[in-house]
């Protein structure tokens, strides 16, 4: 088979994969140092899903994200400085420190926001697609959810609404196999989650969520078909968290052999392999990308450190006082 991918495209994908990896790794460090408070749900191990799906989206498209949403922001092109400032609660953050890790949104890029409620953004994404169609826009909405999120009733309801109204929604189920600590096989009799789509008259597919090109190919096909009026679609991207539910969860319930199995299929390792084998990049070129990302991350952390604190006066003035 001919290689359809340019070196530039593969470089772009790998840069994003590695940016998410570097961002999450650094955030865990900042959390341990006490610079990030609250909750932090790393996207480590799932990077290929956000990167592959967002590569298939255009500037006019929307996405709704999850509590584990840093990867979606970065893949959608978010500025690391403003992300880091937000996660450290600073005024210069995307949400001026009002949202934090679980609520980063960038309306200017159609990123309608992460969500602290598992399943909370699903219907909102369907609404964005309806709105786009009513306004004559050619937009698709990618709704990121998970094996945990689809167990909530709003998933079935939202999938049904999107199907009944033929809306351009791409539901992306990130099946990392654990809802907090509940294994997906204990949560449902049918752990192949994409099969739910058929019950609503919707086409769905399970793919290897660690394989950025497979994710991209599938998302690109479904986004194209959404624009042609064939939506909605469901992607179940099988993946695995590197560690527990959040940064303070050691994930002792995750079997070692399973972790080891997925470490060998690490999305960044695969992405690097594609860049070298299909893109013809040298090891030095890969190292240069990683160094570049590292520098951007250092810069972002420094920016966040220097950013002014937000104040209650700023907050109240902005929202028009005590509500």
């Amino acid at each position: 088979m001919a290689n359809p991918y340019s070196k530039a495209f593969l470089t772009g994908l790998y840069r994003q994969l590695w940016t998410i990896r570097a961002f999450e790794t650094r955030c865990i460090q900042l959390y341990r140092q006490g610079l990030i408070r609250g909750y932090l749900h790393p996207y480590l191990g799932q990077e290929a899903i956000a990167v592959g799906v967002c590569a298939a989206l255009g500037p006019q498209d929307y996405l709704t994200s999850t509590h584990r949403g840093h990867g979606h922001c970065i893949a959608r092109g978010a500025d690391l400085r403003r992300m880091t400032a937000e996660i450290t609660g600073k005024q210069a953050g995307y949400c001026q420190g009002r949202g934090g890790s679980m609520h980063i949104a960038d309306m200017s890029q159609g990123n309608l926001g992460a969500n602290g409620i598992v399943g909370g953004g699903t219907a909102i994404g369907v609404g964005a697609a309806l709105s786009a169609r009513m306004q004559g826009k050619d937009s698709v909405c990618a709704v990121f959810t998970s094996d945990g999120g689809v167990m909530n009733g709003t998933f079935g309801e939202s999938l049904n609404l999107a199907a009944a109204w033929d809306l351009p929604v791409l539901f992306v189920i990130e099946n990392n196999q654990y809802a907090v600590s509940l294994p997906v096989r204990e949560a449902t009799r049918e752990p192949e989650l994409y099969k739910r789509a058929a019950g609503y008259g919707v086409e769905g597919r399970r793919i290897n969520g660690n394989h950025v090109l497979e994710v991209y190919e599938t998302a690109a096909e479904y986004v194209r078909r959404c624009r042609a009026g064939e939506g909605p679609f469901v992607i179940e991207a099988l993946t695995y968290r590197h560690a527990g539910h959040h940064v303070n969860d050691p994930g002792t319930y995750m079997p070692e052999d399973q972790k080891e199995h997925y470490r060998k299929m690490d999305p960044c390792l695969l992405g690097r392999q594609f860049l070298i084998e299909l893109g013809g990049a040298s090891c030095e070129e890969v190292a240069a990308i990683e160094a570049d990302v590292q520098q951007a991350m250092d810069d972002a952390v420094e920016f966040a450190r220097q950013s002014p604190e937000t104040t209650i006066e700023d907050f109240l003035e902005q929202i028009g006082g005590d509500q």
Binding site: R98, L112, I117, G120, A128, C141, E157, L161, I319
Partner: protein, 346 residues
């Protein structure tokens, strides 16, 4: 005649129409806003061809089409979420939830999503969504179709809460709610839909949110009431007038934002307060109004504030039990006599 501007024709027509039903006033508000702004649309259960259970959306499907008058499956949480997503991306949806009791299926979307988005995003996003619903007891609809749940929404920062008591207020407040950039919980009352009253025939009749109304002036006691407790309080006030007691009936119309100054001015005048709330007594809006009044007008009060409210029970089906569970005219009259020390009149 051809030189007459169309709005004059409409105004003249309206001025001859007499009294308007509450549901018709709501229907006019929706139709006018949908004509004015293509971003306004309505969605809910049975609102299309059927025109809604209380006929508020009658005729809208014929005028605006199925694309803007959207019948939904019975999936309240998700179609409300759809409204939020549409509001975030440039539309101005009016979502209808058939009974306020059903909003309990939607609380995540209302409380965790709609109310919070603007604040969580550092002011990037707006949710200009109106959630129209109706509550209250009075038709033997039993415990799951009769509740008064405004306190739940009143409690949540980020939501506005509107409860019109007359056709004119219904129209003016619904139009203002649709143009507001915040999520608005617009609570109608099932016993008010067929009530009639004058509605100003001016074009774009609107009432700003946060502006209450004196429904009856009086010097002796302030009756604070909203929604269906307004006509009930007015009826009680008429009877009290026969005893020489002049009650002032203050209708805040919007609980959030609240016209505190209107309430306090009346309290300063009458020095006696009765708050009438259909909702259950415990944890209600009335308690909060009482706390505001005692904090800001304590020196004017001639005695304790009286609250007339529903019993702390689910609403029973049996009509006699139902009416015993929510404030009636006689309960209001008794409370007024108590605060004025006129129980001897009994």
């Amino acid at each position: 005649m051809s030189a007459t501007p169309p709005h004059d024709l409409r105004a003249r027509h309206s001025s001859h129409r007499g009294r308007v039903q509450y549901r018709t006033a709501l229907n006019e508000a929706l139709a006018e806003e949908m004509r004015r702004d293509p971003k306004v649309f309505v969605l809910g259960e049975g609102i299309g061809e059927r025109g809604g259970s209380y006929k508020v959306t009658q005729g809208l499907r014929a005028e605006f089409g199925a694309g803007r008058v959207i019948d939904t499956p019975l999936a309240e949480a998700s179609f409300t979420g759809v409204g939020i997503g549409a509001a975030l991306t440039g539309m101005r949806p009016v979502v209808e939830i058939l009974f306020i009791d059903f909003t309990m299926l939607v609380m995540d979307q209302i409380v965790n999503q709609a109310a919070k988005v603007r604040f969580m995003t550092g002011n990037q996003a707006r949710v200009p969504l109106v959630l129209r619903t109706q509550g209250g007891a009075g038709n033997g609809l039993a415990a799951q179709h009769s509740q008064s749940l405004e306190a739940l929404f009143y409690h949540i920062p980020g939501l506005k809460v509107v409860m019109p008591s007359t056709p004119a207020d219904a129209k003016g407040l619904l139009k203002a709610s649709i143009r507001d950039d915040s999520p608005v919980i617009f609570i109608e009352h099932k016993l008010l839909y067929l009530t009639e009253g004058p509605v100003p025939a001016v074009e774009d009749y609107m009432i700003p949110l946060g502006k209450g109304d004196i429904k009856r002036t009086g010097r002796d006691v302030t009756l604070i009431a909203w929604s269906n407790m307004v006509p009930r309080s007015l009826a009680a006030a008429d009877k009290l007038a026969a005893e020489g007691i002049e009650a002032e009936v203050v209708d805040p119309r919007t609980l959030v934002p609240l016209d505190e100054e209107l309430i306090l001015a009346s309290v300063r005048k009458t020095e006696h307060v009765v708050i009438v709330q259909e909702a259950v007594r415990r944890g209600g809006v009335a308690s909060d109004l009482a706390s505001i009044i005692q904090a800001k007008a304590f020196d004017y009060l001639d005695g304790p504030i009286e609250i007339v409210a529903g019993l702390n029970t689910p609403i029973p089906f049996n009509l006699a039990l139902e009416s015993a569970c929510v404030p009636q005219e006689a309960d209001i009259i008794r409370a007024v006599r108590r605060v004025l020390g006129r129980n001897a009149c009994l």
